[in-house]
Every structure is written in structure tokens, then in C-alpha cells.
């Protein structure tokens, strides 16, 4: 372990945190503009051209707001909770690769890889950090010494534990397909086809479960305004609130990055040197295309999350729990079985059976939706 290597890690980590900081600021802008468009409004358009300076104005406002502390709060934990919430959101993407190992960035004669850490158990690292992320919200809720905040914290812990199971099981399908829990192997295994094609229902479960994990609409029970004031962050203001806010949006970025890596081919994309006319002049750009494709995929996935927020109403709490335990969990267990059998048949009988995985899992997913419809649809006696 040389000094230069430590310096490289430090710089890469610092740059990534800065990217997440800027990403948070402009994700709020993106969300407000996109939501406004969906609701037939214009959105923030006054600060700077197209309102592009709006995040900076918001940041200045939050910095200069008064810092207050409830007298009956648990001072230490009240102070620590926003930090404990933010740190997992920042470190969870450390194992995500942003470019192929074969095309490192060459800077000052030194080859720099497109990832911060190359863990052999990368997916498990993501799982373990995701399981720690709940503490911040729970502690914020408890230390505020406020009934609404407390209920928000309790709701979030129950919800996140429940959906973590479906989330972890949807990881297993990817590990089975890639035959490795290492992120680089998972991306390289998708050169023949993105896993979302082989495992469409698994990708859907992953996206739903992560929406619940980061407490986004329609699963934003911990901060359900109509019921709980602002939930776990009712008592927070100023920079402490800004940290909680940043944690929420950085978690959105993080899970979209992870979803892009696990199911949508990560940094893979069309080779730009094959473009007609201009392709031959673009050889220098190939090492930079990984991050560009990654950015595009994350951008599109983020739009999906904003779209969901604009479209779906908040789900009722008992139905949220029933959905997680009675539908997502059995369905993801069935998917693991289907994937494992499909891989075995593809290896031993004929490789065509590999495409039986998406077909059978789509059938299983349709059955789950049908079962949900049967239980949720309006009953005859309720119609009059």
C-alpha cells in the first residue's frame, strides 16, 4: 500500500462526494422542473437562465436559517442523526464501477481505474450499507422527543426492514446470472444482454423495494405530511435539515446508479468509434464513454422515480406491509428458484432454456399481480 495509492483513493472519494453534492442540488431542480411539467406548471425559472441557479439560492437559504434544538431533545443523537443518515448514502456507491477495467483513465502517466473500491463481495457490501441506513432516520425520530417524529422513525424502521428482504433476494438473482457478487463481473456478464431482459420481474422488484428503502413516494410513510406533520424530520431545520434532505436525494442517485449497474448494463453502451462519418475521430473519447453512459442511464432512471412520485398516491400503511411480505417476498423467492433452474437447464440441456427465465418469471409476476387484483378490487357488496 503505497502513498500514491492512498492519495488516489482519497482524491477519487473526494471527487465522488463532490459529484454527489452537486448531483443532490441539481436533482432537486430536476425533480421540481419535471414534476411541474407533469402537473402542467412551469417550475422554478427565475434564478438564472431556465432557473438553473435555483439550487444555489436554496442552499444559501438553508445555510442562513436559524439552527434550533428542541429543549427536550436528546442533544447528542439529535446532532448525530443527520450525519448517520447521510454517510451511508455517500459510501454505498463506492463499489460501483463507472468504466471498464480494461480502459482506465490515464492521468500524469498513472492508470486510474473507474471505481473507488473493487470489492469481491461488492453486492453484499451494498446490502450491508443499505441495512445500516435505517439508523439515521430512526434516531432522528427518537431523539426529537416528538410523537410525530417518533412515529415516523418507527414506521421507517418497520418498512425498511420489511423491504430489505425483497431487496436482498432480488440481488441474488443477479448474482446467480453473473456467477459472482463482484460488481465488475456483473457488468461484464451483461455484455451479451442486460439483466433486465433476463430478469425483468427481478428488476421491477428491485426498483419497488428500493423506492421503499429510500422512503420515496408512494412509500413515503415516514414523512406522510397529512398524518405526521413532516415525520422524522419535523423538528429539524437549517443545515441539519439540509443534511437529511441531501441524504434522501443522494440515496435516490445511489440506488439509480446501483440499479443501472445491476440490471441495465452499467457503463456498457454502443461503441462510438463505430459511428458513421465521425466515428474514426473519436478514439480518444472511448475511455470517457463509460461514465457518460452511466450518467444517461441514471438520468433516465431518476426520471422514472420522479414520474412515479407524480403519478401514484401514497399507499396505505397496512397495505404497504402486506405488499412487502405477502407479494414481493414470495415472488422474489419464486424468482430465485426460476433463475436457478433456468441456469441449470441452460448449462446442462440447451442454452435456449436461458430465455425461459424471463418468460416464466413474467408469468409468475402476472400471477402475483392477478392475486393482488383479486384481493384489492372492489367487492360486490361494497359497490352499492
Amino acid at each position: 500500500m503505497t502513498f500514491a495509492l492512498v492519495l488516489e483513493w482519497l482524491i477519487k472519494g473526494f471527487v465522488w462526494v463532490l459529484i454527489l453534492l452537486g448531483g443532490f442540488a441539481y436533482l432537486t431542480y430536476y425533480e421540481r422542473r419535471a414534476l411541474a411539467r407533469i402537473q402542467v406548471r412551469i417550475g422554478p425559472n427565475r434564478a438564472g437562465p431556465l432557473g438553473l441557479l435555483q439550487p444555489i439560492a436554496d442552499a444559501v437559504k438553508l445555510i442562513f436559517k436559524e439552527e434550533f434544538m428542541p429543549t427536550q431533545a436528546d442533544k447528542l443523537l439529535f446532532f448525530l442523526a443527520p450525519i448517520v443518515t447521510l454517510v451511508p448514502a455517500l459510501v454505498i456507491t463506492a463499489v460501483v464501477p463507472f468504466g471498464p477495467e480494461s480502459e482506465p483513465l490515464v492521468l500524469f502517466g498513472r492508470e486510474i481505474n473507474w471505481y473507488i473500491a473493487d470489492l469481491n463481495v461488492g453486492v453484499l457490501y451494498i446490502m450491508s450499507i443499505a441495512s445500516i441506513a435505517v439508523y439515521g432516520i430512526v434516531l432522528a425520530g427518537w431523539s426529537s422527543n416528538n410523537k410525530y417524529a417518533m412515529l415516523g422513525g418507527l414506521r421507517s424502521s418497520a418498512q425498511m426492514i420489511s423491504y430489505e428482504l425483497a431487496l436482498g433476494l432480488s440481488f441474488i438473482g443477479v448474482i446467480l446470472l453473473a456467477n459472482s457478487p463482484r460488481m465488475l463481473d456483473i457488468v461484464e456478464a451483461q455484455r451479451t444482454g442486460w439483466f433486465v431482459l433476463l430478469q425483468p420481474v427481478g428488476a421491477a422488484i428491485f426498483l419497488i423495494a428500493t423506492l421503499a428503502e429510500v422512503n420515496r413516494a408512494p412509500f413515503d410513510m415516514p414523512e406522510a405530511e397529512q398524518e405526521l406533520a413532516a415525520g422524522y424530520h419535523s423538528e429539524y431545520g437549517g443545515m441539519k435539515f439540509a443534511l437529511l434532505f441531501m441524504a434522501e436525494y443522494d440515496k435516490m442517485i445511489a440506488i439509480c446508479t446501483i440499479a443501472a449497474t445491476l440490471f441495465f448494463g452499467g457503463y456498457l453502451g454502443p461503441d462510438i468509434t463505430q459511428l458513421p462519418l465521425v466515428g474514426q475521430y473519436l478514439n480518444w473519447a472511448t475511455p470517457f464513454m463509460g461514465p457518460v453512459y452511466m450518467f444517461l442511464k441514471v438520468f433516465i432512471l431518476l426520471f422514472g422515480m420522479i414520474w412515479v412520485r407524480a403519478t401514484l398516491p401514497r399507499i396505505r400503511y397496512d397495505r404497504l406491509m402486506a405488499f412487502g411480505w405477502k407479494i414481493l417476498l414470495p415472488l422474489s423467492l419464486a424468482l430465485i428458484f426460476i433463475t436457478a433452474v433456468g441456469i441449470l437447464l441452460a448449462e446442462d440441456v440447451a442454452s435456449l432454456y436461458r430465455w425461459g427465465i424471463p418468460v416464466v418469471s413474467l408469468v409468475a409476476g402476472s400471477l402475483a399481480i392477478l392475486g393482488m387484483y383479486q384481493t384489492l378490487r372492489r367487492k360486490e357488496h361494497a359497490r352499492a
Binding site: L119, L124, S131, I132, Y135, L139, G141, L154
Partner: protein
């Protein structure tokens, strides 16, 4: 001095401090958080021993799932403040006796095996952990299949028991 050795001493100090904090804090929430920190330290020890899979499982299962449930129950019951004297008066002398026996055993082993105890496995095995993960899974489903299945059935029994205990009897008044 070796880097991993320095790391070990620092983390071991934190682990011991959090264990003491767990015992002596009078607030159940703080006690639970000290235990979480302690689990994290143990996970770092597993990493130092070249077992990243077990380290991640330690964090996911113990620090992530079990302790969140502990915290959940503590907060739900509002049982943050622990009583000063303790509820079971006979527990303290028994605990002191058991702790003395454990300390004596540990001290005896430390004196007896002071030469061989400090040998860590080859850190090179860390590089190879994907294959070691596969080996572990293979062992789990061949040599240790019976204990594995028995453990899972035990967990299933506990789960069914919890559901039976909390279920309301059909038609009964609350």
C-alpha cells in the same frame, strides 16, 4: 509496525470501549447503539482475518437487521430508562462469578498460547475471496447440510411460534 496490526489495536480498543459503554449506559437506546458499534468492530476483525463475506453478513444481519429490531422494540415500548437496581437481584453475584471464570480461562489461554495466538492467516487469501465464498457455499450444502437445514427449521419454528403467540383467536373478544 504493520498497518493491519495498528488497525487491529485501534479497533480492538474501540470494541472494548463500546462493550464497556453498553454495560454501563443507563439509557437503553445508547446501550443498543454501543452494541451496534461493537458489531461493526467485530466485522472489521473478520475483514482483517480475510473473511469479507462473514464481515458483510455480520453487518447486514446483526448491526442491520437484529439491532434495528431491538431499537424498534425499545422505542415502541418507551423503555429507554433502565431501572437503577436491576430487576433480578440474584443475577449480579452469579454474573460476577461467571465473568471471573471466563476471565481466568482467557488469561490461562493467553499465557499458555502467547506464542502461537498472534499468527494471522495469510492476507493473500483476501484476494481470493470469491473462490473462498464458493468453497464456503459448497461446504455448507455438502458436509454441513444437516446443521444448515436444522438451523433453518429452528428459525422457521421460532417464526411460526411468534405468529401463533401474537395471533388473535378467531371470534374471541379482545
Amino acid at each position: 509496525m504493520d498497518f493491519t496490526l495498528i488497525l487491529f489495536y485501534v479497533v480492538a480498543g474501540v470494541a472494548a470501549a463500546t462493550a464497556v459503554g453498553l454495560l454501563f449506559s443507563r439509557n437503553a437506546v445508547y446501550a443498543a447503539l454501543f452494541l451496534v458499534l461493537n458489531f461493526a468492530c467485530v466485522a472489521v476483525f473478520y475483514l482483517l482475518l480475510g473473511a469479507p463475506f462473514i464481515a458483510m453478513a455480520q453487518i447486514t444481519v446483526y448491526a442491520g437487521a437484529i439491532m434495528v429490531l431491538f431499537l424498534f422494540v425499545i422505542m415502541l415500548l418507551g423503555a429507554e430508562k433502565l431501572p437503577r437496581g436491576g430487576i433480578l437481584p440474584w443475577q449480579r453475584p452469579l454474573a460476577i462469578g461467571a465473568a471471573a471464570i471466563l476471565l481466568a480461562e482467557a488469561g490461562y489461554l493467553l499465557v499458555q498460547r502467547v506464542q502461537s495466538a498472534a499468527v494471522l492467516p495469510d492476507p493473500g487469501s483476501f484476494e481470493n475471496s470469491v473462490s473462498s465464498l464458493q468453497q464456503m457455499a459448497y461446504l455448507l450444502f455438502t458436509d454441513y447440510l444437516l446443521p444448515f437445514e436444522v438451523t433453518s427449521i429452528l428459525l422457521l419454528v421460532a417464526m411460526v411460534g411468534a405468529i401463533v403467540l401474537t395471533r388473535q383467536a378467531k371470534g374471541a373478544q379482545r
